[in-house]
């Protein structure tokens, strides 16, 4: 089963005045065609940096290396800037968190939409405009022909995020990376955008990486999940395994924090995880959750803690998992668990 994108042992370091920050350490995951992988974790756990590393648009002060980074059979590590820029936008597209500032204020929407297409596919501007209008309608923007002449500051946040999505789809990419697409929007718009993303992904059979810190969003549209903590992947698995049988203490802690309709009685105290996330600077070893984990023992501080794989998509990074990993290989196409949406 060849994955659309496969990443193995990705490390990213940012050098700051205080020293080298190991933002991403030993991260491995894979994205299937037509499936959504959600990278979830608290803010500052390195999920956005991972996405930027894949697209190789990290800030100049960052440096990264990986054992393997393959996308549709192409090895991304060996690509020079020229080849890489042909991939970006054409094969993989990215949607950012802050719609208000992600569009160039000096150019019309039409110009910014068609720009990428004419760049990659040498298409006449007429055709490009038609595709833009088609996609604007697809993302649910009315009167899209007239929208092309408008400027970004004349549109609302929700509209701009839809335009960002349309912009990503202009060249028909096979992978979409959505970096917290709905965080800056209010709840009502949030639901529409998520539904739109899911339907588009299904319709164009694309792979998607959804980066979020909101478990509600994960439950709604993700197929597989990778939970990240302090720069490391602590648990991967499909949606039902993660929600129904969390193994890693951090994932279990996360699950206790959210009220599950039907299960948690009103007035019941929600769980919380004590302590703060450590700053991954300098020499690091052992499980990075051990200072907040109630079950921490001496071995947790041992070096060389690796991801233990139960199956090729199910794994966890813990010396002594609090609960036995479930053995049954339930169908990977997990069923949506009840009234989450």
């Amino acid at each position: 089963m060849n994955a659309l994108l496969e990443v193995k042992n990705l490390n990213v370091d940012l050098n700051l005045p205080a020293g080298a920050l190991h933002a991403v350490r030993d991260v491995s995951f894979s994205v299937q065609k037509g499936k959504t992988l959600s990278l979830v974790g608290e803010s500052g756990c390195g999920k956005s940096i991972t996405a930027l590393a894949i697209m190789n648009i990290l800030p100049p002060s960052a440096s990264y290396n990986a054992k393997k980074m393959e996308f549709e059979g192409h090895d991304l590590l060996k690509m020079n800037e020229k080849k890489m820029s042909r991939f970006r936008g054409a094969k993989m597209a990215m949607i950012f968190q802050e719609p208000m500032t992600s569009l160039d204020p000096c150019y019309t929407i039409g110009d910014q939409l068609t720009e990428a297409l004419t760049e990659h596919k040498n298409v006449s501007s007429k055709e490009a405009r038609d595709r833009a209008v088609f996609l604007l309608e697809k993302v649910g923007i009315t009167g899209s022909a007239s929208r092309l002449r408008q400027y970004p500051h004349q549109l609302s946040g929700g509209l701009r995020q839809r335009i960002m999505i349309a912009m990503g789809l202009m060249c028909g990419p096979s992978l979409i990376i959505a970096d917290e697409p709905t965080t800056a929007l209010d709840v009502t718009i949030q639901a529409q955008i998520l539904r739109l993303l899911a339907s588009i992904q299904k319709e164009f059979n694309m792979g998607m990486i959804l980066i979020t810190h909101d478990l509600g969003v994960v439950a709604r549209i993700a197929d597989d999940v990778a939970v990240m903590y302090c720069g490391e992947v602590v648990e991967t698995g499909n949606i039902t395994q993660i929600f129904n049988h969390p193994i890693h203490p951090y994932t279990r802690g996360l699950m206790d924090c959210i009220p599950i309709p039907g299960k948690t009685k009103p007035g019941e105290k929600l769980g919380s995880i004590p302590g703060i996330v450590p700053a991954p600077i300098g020499d690091l070893w052992g499980c990075s959750f051990r200072n907040r984990c109630s079950l921490a023992t001496a071995e947790c501080a041992a070096r060389g803690l690796e991801l233990t794989h139960i199956s090729d998509t199910r794994s966890f990074r813990c010396v002594k998992p609090p609960v036995e990993p479930e053995i049954d290989h339930t169908d990977t196409t997990a069923t949506r668990s009840g009234g989450m949406i």
């Binding site: 020229k82 936008g89 950012f96 569009l103 204020p105 000096c106 760049e119 400027y151 500051h153």
Partner: protein
């Protein structure tokens, strides 16, 4: 837009009146015109005769309104020295100074913008410092010193360029460099900080994510946004250049307003100095007004507000 323009126009007129009033008072007080008009070795009787003949003995306010009244109809008085109507003299010499000003500004822009971009692409590297030093040299060297060195090197030593006069375009090359270089650092620094800011912004990251190649990102998206504040500064710099061209026009014997202003001040030829100051302030106000309009054109956010 219309109300905005009208308001700006009103302000401009008031500023012009104030400027002319200040310069009128300043110049009248700065030396008794009668004495210098009467010429060398004139007896005191002659000076008295000149004083009432030109009406210098009336109170300043009266003189001002009389002058302003005539100025509005375009009659800026005649120069007692050169026996020519001042308006005509300014018209003759305006061309030289305006050409010099525009050429110098273009030179400054052609030098400053690339330097600013270079410095922004490689911040805090030797390129950044080199670009900064080259542009700062423009402000660190006195323009007259730089002008004379240009003359010695290109005029006398290499004999590539004619030294003085304003007949052909080649006569303007050295003065343009001497005057233009002075405005380079201000523009360069603005382009550098503007570019750095825009490069760190989100929409450039989007552009990179779209896979646009570097030159397009740099020129189309980054420079376009970073150039907006430069327009306002460029207008102000052009205003300074017109005023500051006295020295350059003296050295290169360009027969422009700066030269005329300097000669008129040294012999207290007040109508001429007064007219030049007024003319320069009108040009300055006009330039800043145009800069605002151009800014609105450049930045859509302002245009529609």
């Amino acid at each position: 837009m219309l109300i905005y323009t009208l308001k700006r126009l009103g302000l401009a007129i008031i500023v012009m009146v104030t400027v002319s009033m200040i310069s009128f008072m300043l110049l009248r007080v700065s030396g008794d015109p009668a004495i210098s008009l009467a010429g060398e070795g004139a007896s005191s009787a002659e000076i008295e005769f000149v004083r009432e003949q030109y009406g210098f003995d009336r109170p300043l306010i009266v003189q001002y309104f009389e002058w302003a009244g005539r100025a509005v109809q375009g009659d800026l008085g005649t120069s007692p020295y050169l026996k020519q109507p001042v308006a005509q003299m300014i018209k003759d010499r305006m061309g030289v100074t305006m050409t010099l000003g525009v050429c110098s500004l273009t030179f400054a822009l052609l030098l400053a913008i690339p330097l600013g971009m270079l410095a922004a692409i490689r911040p805090n590297t030797w390129i950044d410092r080199l670009a900064l030093s080259i542009s700062v040299m423009g402000q660190a060297m006195p323009s007259f010193w730089f002008g004379l060195i240009l003359i010695i090197f290109f005029g006398v030593y290499l004999r590539w360029l004619p030294i003085s006069g304003s007949d052909t375009w080649r006569h303007f090359v050295m003065p343009t460099i001497a005057l233009g270089y002075y405005a380079t650092p201000a523009i360069m620094r603005l382009v550098r900080s503007g570019m750095l800011e825009v490069l760190a912004s989100d929409h450039i990251r989007t552009a990179r994510a779209k896979g646009l190649r570097w030159p397009k990102i740099l020129f189309k998206h980054t420079l376009r946004n970073a150039i907006i504040p430069v327009v306002a500064v460029a207008a102000v710099q052009l205003g300074f250049m017109l005023g500051g061209s006295i020295v350059i026009e003296a050295i290169f014997a360009l027969n422009g307003l700066g030269n005329l202003a300097w000669i008129s001040i040294s012999r207290s030829d007040l109508p001429v100095v007064q007219a030049i100051v007024l003319f320069l302030s009108v040009i300055y106000i006009f330039l800043t007004f145009m800069a605002d309009l151009f800014n609105a054109f450049l930045d859509p956010r302002i245009r529609s507000s």
